[in-house]
């Protein structure tokens, strides 16, 4: 069973992601901020991490850098959510080690398509 970690301080976004991905047979684990994300990522075996960038406690960029610094998380695809198609933010997140992005708002079909794009089937 493929597990996906979703990190976002908005419960409704986590819920939307969870419903869409659970419908495709993925197991979804939630975290409410970057620090919780790092802790949960260390405790489980995830095939993909989807994270927001603006979060309290620890932001998404810091979380991505911390995860990439650990060999255990090398190669795990990380997608970030971004509101505007802002080239600057994309460049920063990619430099931090993100794999790709998802532009908000997205619909469930877009989410599933992008998730399948980065996960080896």
């Amino acid at each position: 069973m493929t597990s996906i970690l979703t990190v976002d301080d908005s419960a409704s976004i986590r819920q939307a992601i969870k419903i869409a991905l659970a419908g495709e047979g993925y197991t979804v684990v939630e975290a409410g901020d970057g620090a919780e994300g790092v802790a949960k990522a260390g405790a489980g075996d995830f095939s993909l991490i989807i994270t927001d960038l603006n979060m309290p406690v620890m932001d998404g960029l810091t979380m991505i850098r911390q995860l990439r610094a650990k060999p255990a998380h090398a190669g795990v695809p990380i997608l970030f959510l971004t509101t505007e198609s802002d080239a600057e933010i994309k460049a920063q997140a990619k430099a931090a080690g993100a794999t790709g992005w998802l532009t908000k708002p997205f619909d469930p079909e877009q989410l599933v398509r992008i998730v399948k794009k980065v996960l080896a089937s």
Partner: protein
């Protein structure tokens, strides 16, 4: 609007999406077999549906879902995008706009629109199915790519990329191993392989690039079409009743590029707030200037001058921030012309020029309604039917040109048509019938044309659905003058008409001339001032009956502001006449003293004073006093009127 409120963000994005969908649909009306446009419309509808559902706009999502379903048949090439079908989707798109704003949009209306859409789709399916030639031929592509060195660590997996390419069409994949270093230098987490893929697909180059979307900026990617790139599809003839010429496509591209840059979206109210603050600052600064002028302290003067310079620069910057290209306004009229052409059965070439011309956003908002009215008039009354045009030796398609350009501190907007021109006889008959002029009155051609702007004037013999909805050119004129602009019309029988508007760039701050009448001070907008002359005592005495002065052999009527404002004091011995003009008309305003120029931050009058006609606003002076701003358009009209009355009575 809170930027953190997802529903508010969605509403804004929905408006942007709908605007884009509308533009694509209008293009589609002109190039019905452009697959790119069909796809773009479909994508827009799809995104709108998905986002709408995500943010709880269920009615919008459900309605859009049905439209998307109907339009899907166009996307699949089962039915052609007929003009009827495009119009049905346009109508549905208006309904979506209402739903996105959560306006009261009755469900029955939505159902009727969907029914119309389905009828249009069925009609299009029964008529001419999309030509099979529309399906693009498959092309063979050679794709060579190497991922960035850190791609594997960062989660990019080559296999799904290759799978995605395979989804586009049959593939042959060869791994490029030439860059693999010797074992001792090999970094195990880096990607050393490259790939060469030969792909046969009918998808365009952009579909291949999309596969690499997350890494395309950092990787090397060569995409080569073997046997040459497929030609973009030829543009077929436009629909029978509609042709839209896009002379401004160049500026449209420019606009798109500008939008792609680093921009920040700010609620409009914040800009207004900022403008208010800048206004307050300018007022405080002029107070400082007065204090400094009466002070012996040289350093105070230096600081005051520095602040004056900074405030002026800040004001200029603020003006620029509030400027928006007129393109967004012009864009709306393409839809209007499309609807007009369909309703009247006329063929209309609509050309826009100078779309990148910028105006204050408030001005643009207030120009929308008058322009709609004038364009309607041009298309509905101005242009003839195709038969009449052919009979008159003109091309069947009429032409309406909407142009904007900047001239100094004004923007000039012209609406030109090549229609039948204003029928002078009909104008005269109508004016006589309505008692605007005496039967047989001798009028210059210009005076005759001016009658069109008279309240209640309408020459259309039959009031169509389009024009004559109660607002006449008098309302247009009032609106334009409310913007401190001017309107003029020229017309040549049989050749067409032109209306030109002169609009000031901004409404918030103007250069004014400060004058004194009695003990009170007033501001005259400097742009309207032509000259200032002294009113000699003998001229003053001589002109008690008809108030006229001679200026370079020309008689100019004048108004004594002291009488108008009933100051009740003896006039200064050396009164001045400030000659002001709007368009061709001029009038002199007699004042006691000219105090000098004044940066005027306009404060509108309260709603209690909304019906005061002589003043257009007020401003706060450097010493904290208040000066009223004279409404020049009104005064000039009053002066001319009084002169005409005096002339008539003797």
């Amino acid at each position: 609007m809170s930027l953190d409120d997802p529903a508010a963000i969605f509403r804004q994005e929905a408006q942007d999406l709908l605007e884009q969908i509308e533009l694509n649909l209008l293009d589609l009306a002109r190039r019905p077999s452009d697959r790119g446009l069909v796809d773009a419309v479909f994508r827009g509808l799809h995104t709108l549906k998905g986002s709408g559902a995500m943010f709880g706009f269920d009615a919008l999502a459900a309605f859009t879902h049905h439209c998307e379903g109907a339009f899907d048949r166009v996307r699949k090439g089962e039915v052609a995008a007929t003009p009827e079908l495009v119009s049905a989707v346009l109508a549905a798109q208006d309904h979506m706009r209402a739903l996105a704003e959560e306006r009261d949009a009755p469900q029955a209306e939505g159902e009727a629109l969907l029914a119309a859409l389905h009828r249009a789709v069925d009609a299009a399916a029964g008529g001419s199915p999309a030509a099979p030639a529309d399906a693009p031929a498959a092309t063979t592509w050679r794709i060579r790519f190497r991922l960035p060195a850190d791609a594997l660590v960062n989660g990019t997996r080559p296999l799904p990329l290759l799978d995605e390419l395979r989804d586009l069409g049959p593939c042959e994949v060869v791994a490029l191993t030439d860059a693999i270093p010797p074992l001792e230098a090999l970094a195990p987490t880096e990607c050393h392989l490259g790939w060469e893929v030969t792909l046969v697909t009918e998808h365009p180059r952009s579909a291949i690039e999309d596969v690499f979307i997350f890494v395309i900026d950092d990787m090397t990617l060569e995409i080569e079409a073997l046997g040459g790139e497929p030609e973009p599809e030829s543009v077929p003839d436009a629909g029978p009743a509609l042709a839209v010429v896009d002379a401004a496509s160049e500026s449209a591209v420019e606009g798109k590029a500008a939008r792609g840059g680093d921009t920040v979206r700010v609620p409009a109210e914040r800009l207004d707030e900022l403008m208010d603050r800048v206004g307050e600052l300018v007022i405080a600064q002029s107070r400082l200037k007065q204090v400094a002028a009466s002070s012996a302290e040289p350093s105070l003067r230096a600081v005051s001058e520095e602040i004056e310079r900074l405030a002026a620069e800040l004001r200029d910057t603020m003006m620029v921030v509030r400027m928006v290209p007129i393109a967004q306004l012009f864009g709306r009229f393409r839809r209007l012309i499309h609807d007009l052409a369909r309703e009247t059965g006329k063929a209309i070439d609509f050309v826009t020029e100078g779309e990148s011309t910028e105006l204050d956003k408030t001005v643009i908002e207030r120009l929308a309604d008058p322009l709609v009215h004038m364009i309607r008039n041009a298309a509905d009354h101005g242009l003839e039917t195709p038969e009449q045009r052919l009979a008159a030796g003109k091309p069947a398609a009429g032409r309406v040109v909407l142009a904007a350009r900047q001239a100094g501190a004004e923007v000039i907007i012209t609406i030109t048509d090549d229609g039948r021109g204003v029928d002078r006889d009909r104008v005269r008959a109508k004016a006589e019938e309505n008692g605007l002029i005496a039967p047989g009155a001798v009028l210059s051609d210009n005076e005759l044309l001016q009658l069109i702007f008279h309240p209640g004037f309408s020459t259309a013999q039959t009031i169509t659905n389009l024009s004559g909805r109660g607002v006449g050119m008098d309302v247009v004129k009032r609106t334009i003058e409310g913007l401190r602009g001017a309107i003029e019309m020229t017309s040549e029988p049989g050749r067409g008409s032109q209306i030109s508007l002169r609009i000031p760039l901004t409404l918030a701050i103007i250069d004014g001339l400060l004058v004194r009448v009695g003990t009170a001070r007033y501001v005259i907008p400097l742009a309207a001032v032509e000259e200032c002359v002294e009113l000699s005592v003998e001229q003053d005495l001589r002109s008690t009956g008809r108030s006229l002065i001679t200026l370079r052999d020309r008689l100019v009527p004048f108004i004594r502001l002291r009488e108008l404002f009933r100051t009740g004091q003896a006039p200064d011995p050396h009164q001045k006449v400030v000659v002001v003009a709007t368009g061709q008309e001029r009038v002199g305003l007699v004042v006691d003293q000219i105090l000098g120029d004044h940066q005027t931050v306009i404060k509108s009058l309260s709603s209690f004073h909304a019906d005061v006609e002589t003043f257009s606003g007020a401003t706060i002076l450097g010493d904290g006093g208040v000066a009223l701003i004279l409404d020049i358009a009104h005064l000039v009209a009053a002066g001319q009127r009084r002169d005409a009355e005096l002339r008539a009575t003797g």
